[in-house]
Symmetry: D2
Subunit: 362 residues, 4 copies
C-alpha cells in the first residue's frame, strides 16, 4: 500500500485503526512557519467522536504528539511528523468477521488483493480513523493559508432528503465560516439542521445509517492557481477528496446541476468590482475554477458521502472459507452518519491541496 | 504548462487549437502489442465534428500520423508518438477577443497566470480540440484492454432535463456497448434520445447551448485493482476526467444519490454466483469500487458537462485594457452541446486510466 | 525536507540523530513475502558502531521495532513501518557548535536554507545515523532478491592509497559474497586489508580521518532491467547512492578508468556460454549496464567516500553571529573512517534500488 | 520507453536517430522569459558534427523548429516544443546489424527487453543524436540562468592518458568559461589539448576510439539549493548525467580523489570573504555541495565517458538467430572520440538540472 499524496507538500498517513498508533508525515512544508498547536488540537476535537448522539460512542482523545519538524511553535524545515496513540480498541468485535466480508467495506477486495495476513480489524488502514492524522496536517495548512488571507469553511449541505441552503458562491466570506464553526451542528439554515438531526436519529434507532453531502468553500485565492487541464486544480482536489473514506462524488460550482443549464445561464459574465477596481464575475457557476485554474472567485466544491456501511441491521454476506451465504450482524459502535464528523476532514483536505498548489506556483 | 498525466503509462498532449499540429506521446506502453490503426481512426471519427446538426460545422479529418513506437501494426517499445495536422483554422475569428475574456473560458485566468504573449486563439492549449490526440491514445488502450477481456462503453445519460435510462450496474456487458456504438445518437432509451436532440436543436436555434451528463461503464475488471485510499482507483479516474474540458462533476455508482440512501439500501450484499461459483454483489451501488480498489463488479462513473461556453448570444465581459464593461459577440462555429462528441473522449480517458493501473499492478 | 525516494517501492527515512527515534517506511513492497527479522537484525549489526577500533565508540543496539506491514513473519500488504529508538545521545557535545558550522558538514548551508530553528545536533536529519533505518529496508529487499536468485555483495576497494583487488567482473558470484560477509574486515585481499587498517588507526591516532572506495556487485539480474536513458538503471542507482552521506563519486564497470581505454579494449564482445547456451560477454567493462539497461552480466559499481568530516584536530571556521574566524575543536566520538560501516549501507541501497526496478518492470 | 526527466521542469526527448524528426518538449518552464533563438542555434552548432577531424563526417544542420511555447522571442507559458528534422540518414549501413548486436551498444539488452520490432537503426532512441534536442532545452536554460547571475562552463579534462589542468575550484568564473568557449578545442592547457588531439587522430587512424573525462563548473549558485539527502543536488545531477549516452562515472569536487585524502586536508574551512563580508570556504574539495545542498562555492563535477563503441576494427559478436559467433565490421561514420562534442551536452544537462532545482526552491 502507498498512502502518500501531494507534489510539493507530500502527506503520508500511517498506521491502522486498531494498531498502537497512527501518524502523519508532512514533507516539503516550509520552514519558519508558526504553528499554534492548541488550535491544531481544537481542530482535531471537531472530528473526534463521542461528542453528541449523531456519532459513535467510541472515545478517542486524539492528542497528537509531534516527533519532529516543529520546535518552539515554529516549523524548522525538517519533515513534520506526529503520532496519535490509539486507545479504546475493541478488536474482539472484529475477529468473527475475518472471513465474512462486510458489505461496502474494503474487506473483500483487500483480501483478494493482499491475501489473508492483512490486518483488517476495524478497517485496518482503510478505517475512517486514519482521517485524524489528516486533520493534523490540515490544521497546520489552515494556519499557513490564513496568514495569506485564504480561508476555508464547510457545512452539511444535505442529509438524506434534507438540504441546507447553499453558500452564496459570489459573496461567501471568512465571516460565514466563523459563524458556522461556532455551531454545534454545522448548517447555514438551522431549520434544515433540525430536520437532518431527526433523519440521523431515526436511522440510528432502526440500526441503520444515512448519507449526505458536504459543501466546501475557499475564499481569498489568487487568480491563476493550478495547472491547466491534467493535474489541474479540480483534478488535484477531486483526487484528494476521493481519498476521504465514503466519498462517492465530487463536483465544482454548479457541478451536476450544470447539466440542466443553458450556456447563457451558466456562463459567468465579467465585471469590474466598483469597490476595488478588480475584475470578477457577476455569478460564479464555475465554482471559482475554469480551465483547471482559479478565477479568483470563491472555490466551491461538494462531496457526496455514502451512508456508513457498518450498520446494526442484519445483512447478507458470504463466508469466504465455505462459500456459503451467511447472515451478518456487525457489532461495535458506529456513526449513524459520518457527515458531521467528516466536515473538518473536508476542510483539512482542501487546505492541504491548496497549500500544495501554492507551494508549486511559488 | 504541463500536460502529462499517468504513472506507468504517461500521456502527454501537445499543441494548440490553431497551431499547425496537435499530438500525443504515450510513454510506458508495453512493446509487442498489436495496434489496429484503422480501428483507431474509426474511433477518432466518432469524436470528429461536422457529422450531424448537433455539433460544430468545423470539419477536421483528424487523421493521425504515427511518428514512432508502432512498426508493422505492433508496438515496438519506443514511446508512441502521433500527430494530427490542424486544418480549417479560422483564427481571425478570435483576434478581436485578445483583450476581452470570454465568460467561462480560461482566457482571463490564463492571461493573469501567463501574461499577454500566451496564444489563446481557439482556446489555445485549453481547446477541446486537444481531446483528439487523447482519443488516439485511448483507442490504443481500448484495444489493449479488449485483448484482456475488459470493455468500456458510455452513453448520454442526460441532456438538459432529459434523462436516459441508466446502465444496469450489475448486468451491463460488452453487448450493451456494442449496441450503443452502432447508434448515431448514443442513448439506451431512444425516446429520451429524441427529446435530447430537440433540446440541443432548440438551444442552437436560440444561439445558446446546453449541458449534460455521460455515464461510463467498464466491465471485465479484476478484483483488487487500484491503490487503497489516496491515489486509488476513484482518485485517478476523477483526476483524469476533470482533465477533460467542461467536466464539472464526477461520481461513482450511486454517487450523489447515495446521499439519499440508507446504509441498508446502499450496501451491496455479497453472494456466490450460481453460474460460476464466483463471489459478487447482489446490487452495485458502489459502482464497482470500495476503498479505492475494484470489487470486480462493473465500474460505473458519471461525468457532468457544463453547457458549451461559446455561444452566439450577446454576453457581458470586460475589456482588460480599458477595464470597461463591453458586450461580447463570439463568432466562429461551436457545438451547441459538447456531450455527444465527448462520449468517445470519456471512453478514451477511462481506457487510459485503467491501462495505467493495470500496468502498475502487473 | 523530503526524505522519500523510489518509484514503485517508496522508502521514507525519518527522525534525527539525537531525537527519540528514527524510522523507515516502505510503501509498495509486495504482500505475502517472507521476512526473517533475525536476519534483518543481523544485517543491522554489521552497520552498528562500537564493534572494533575502526569505528566510533558510540554504542547503539539498533534493534528495530516493526509497527505495521509484517504479521507472523510475512508482509501483509500494508506499508512496512519500523522504528529504532535512539540511545546514548551526547547532545551537549554539540551545543557549542550552534553558531559555528563544522567544515564539510551541512550545518552552514542548512542554516541558510532553513533558518535557526533547525535542530542540527549530531547532524540532525543529515546524520549518518539515519542509514540504520535504510539498512532495515535494504535487509528486507535483500531477502526478496535472494528468493529470485539475485545476490549483492560489497567490499572495501580502497582506503587512503591502499587498494584491494577488484571483483572479477565476469565471474563474481554469490559464493564470493558469502566469503566476504564472513570476514570481520571486508576485503578480497587480506594483505591489503591489513594495510588499510594501519591507515585508519594511524589517522585516528592523529585525530584525523581517511576516505575510501567501496565496490558493489549484483549478480543474477535479468537482461533488460531498467529504463533507457533518463531515469535508467545507472541514473537510479547513482541518485540513490549519492543519498548515502559522504558519497562523492559513483561509477559503473570500468567507470573513470574507461577514459584511459580504447574502444577495442573497452567493448565487451558477445559470446555464447558453452555451459548453458546463453548469450553473455567475454569481458564486462560495461559493469553490466549498457544504454541504462542491464546486460545480464554482473552489475559493478563503485562509490567514493570522503574522509569523515568530524575530526579531533583543530579546524578553522566562522562564528555566524560575530562573523569572526574561530578555531573549532569538535568533541564527541567519531569514526576515523566511515567506509567499513558503510558497506552494508551500500548493499542495502543497491538492494532497494534493484527491487524498485524489478517491481516497475514486473 | 520513457524519456522524460525533471520535476518542476520536465524535459521529454523524442524521436529516433534515423526517423524523420527528433524533438524536445519543455513543460513547466516559466512564462515571460526572453529566448534568443540565434544563441540557441549557435549553442547547437557546438554539438553538431562534421566541423573538425575529431568527429564523424555525418553532416547535420540541426536547425530547430519551434512548434509552441515561444512567441516573439518570449516564452508564453505553453509547453515549449521544438523539432529538428533528420537528414543524411544512411540507414542501410545498419540493416546487416539487425541480428548481430554491436558490443557496448544497447542493441542486445534492448532486443531482449522489447522484442524484434524495435527500430535500432543508428541506435534508435538510444542514439547520441538525441542529445541535439537536449542541447536546445539546455540553451534556453543557460539563458535563464545567466539572467540570474549563474554561469556554466565545461572543458575536456582528460582524453586517454592526457589530462588537462583542472578548474580552480575556488576562483573559477564566467570569464574562464568565456575564454574556453572561444577555443575550437576546449581545454585550459593548450599543450595538453594538442596531445589529446594526437591521441584522437591516432585512434581514428587505427579504426579505434578513445574515452575521456569532462569537468563542468557552475558559478553564481545561491547557498542552500537542493533537497537534503535523497533526491538532492548531487542525486539529481548524477541521475541526469548518467542519462547522457556513454557516461560511466560522475563525481563531485575531489570525488574519487577524496578517497586518498585525510579529513584535515579535505575539509573546507570557513572564512569571511574580506571583499564582500560573505561566508565562503578557503578550499572547495566538496565541489560546492555538502549534505546534497549547495554551499555557494562553485559546483564542480566530472563525468567519465567511455570510448565510442562504434569502431571500424573487426569485433566479435553473436548472430542472435543462429547463435553462432561472428566477426562484426561496423560501417558508417563515427566519432573517434565523443568527448569534444559532448561538452555542450554536459553544459546543457547541468543547466537543465539547476533550472529545475531553482524552480522547485522558488
Amino acid at each position: 500500500m502507498q498512502s502518500t499524496f501531494g507534489k510539493m507538500l507530500k502527506i503520508t498517513i500511517s498506521g491502522e485503526s486498531h494498531g498502537e498508533q497512527i501518524g502523519v508525515r508532512m514533507q516539503g512544508f516550509p520552514a519558519n512557519e508558526a504553528v499554534d498547536l492548541q488550535a491544531v488540537e481544537a481542530f482535531l476535537r471537531r472530528r473526534a467522536p463521542g461528542n453528541d448522539p449523531f456519532s459513535t460512542t467510541r472515545k478517542e482523545p486524539d492528542k497528537p504528539e509531534v516527533l519532529s519538524g516543529i520546535a518552539n511553535d515554529v516549523t524548522d524545515g525538517a519533515a513534520i511528523e506526529a503520532i496519535i496513540h490509539n486507545q479504546n480498541q475493541h478488536s474482539n468485535d472484529y475477529e468473527s468477521l475475518r472471513f465474512i466480508p462486510r458489505p461496502s467495506h474494503a474487506d473483500y477486495p483487500a483480501r483478494v488483493k493482499y491475501g489473508e495476513s492483512l490486518d483488517l480489524r476495524g478497517g485496518g488502514h482503510f478505517s475512517g480513523r486514519l482521517t485524524a492524522p489528516l486533520c493534523f496536517a490540515g490544521a497546520i495548512c489552515l494556519q499557513y493559508l490564513a496568514r495569506r488571507g485564504i480561508y476555508i469553511g464547510a457545512h452539511i449541505a444535505q442529509i438524506a432528503d434534507v438540504k441546507d441552503d447553499r453558500f452564496d458562491a459570489v459573496k461567501v466570506s471568512k465571516e460565514d465560516f466563523d459563524a458556522l464553526h461556532k455551531k454545534p451542528f454545522c448548517v447555514i439554515n438551522s431549520k434544515a439542521g433540525t430536520q437532518m438531526q431527526t433523519r440521523i436519529l431515526q436511522a440510528r434507532s432502526e440500526g441503520d445509517s444515512v448519507g449526505g453531502v458536504i459543501e466546501v468553500a475557499v475564499v481569498g485565492l489568487p487568480v491563476g492557481l493550478g495547472t491547466p487541464l491534467y493535474d489541474g486544480l479540480e483534478s488535484r482536489l477531486a483526487a484528494n477528496f476521493f481519498g476521504i473514506p465514503a466519498v462517492k462524488g465530487v463536483d465544482f460550482g454548479s457541478g451536476f446541476d450544470a447539466a440542466l443549464m443553458r450556456g447563457s445561464q451558466h456562463n459567468d459574465a465579467y465585471t469590474v468590482d466598483p469597490e476595488n477596481g478588480e475584475i470578477r464575475t457577476l455569478t460564479n457557476h464555475a465554482g471559482g475554477c475554469v480551465g483547471a485554474i482559479t478565477t479568483g472567485m470563491p472555490l466551491i466544491l461538494r462531496a457526496a458521502f455514502k451512508p456508513t456501511p457498518s450498520i446494526a441491521k442484519t445483512q447478507l454476506s458470504v463466508d469466504l472459507q465455505t462459500k456459503e451465504t451467511v447472515e451478518l450482524n456487525i457489532k461495535g459502535r458506529h456513526d449513524p452518519c459520518i457527515v458531521p464528523r467528516a466536515l473538518p476532514v473536508t476542510e483539512a483536505m482542501a487546505a492541504i491541496t491548496i497549500t500544495d498548489l501554492l507551494l508549486e506556483d511559488a
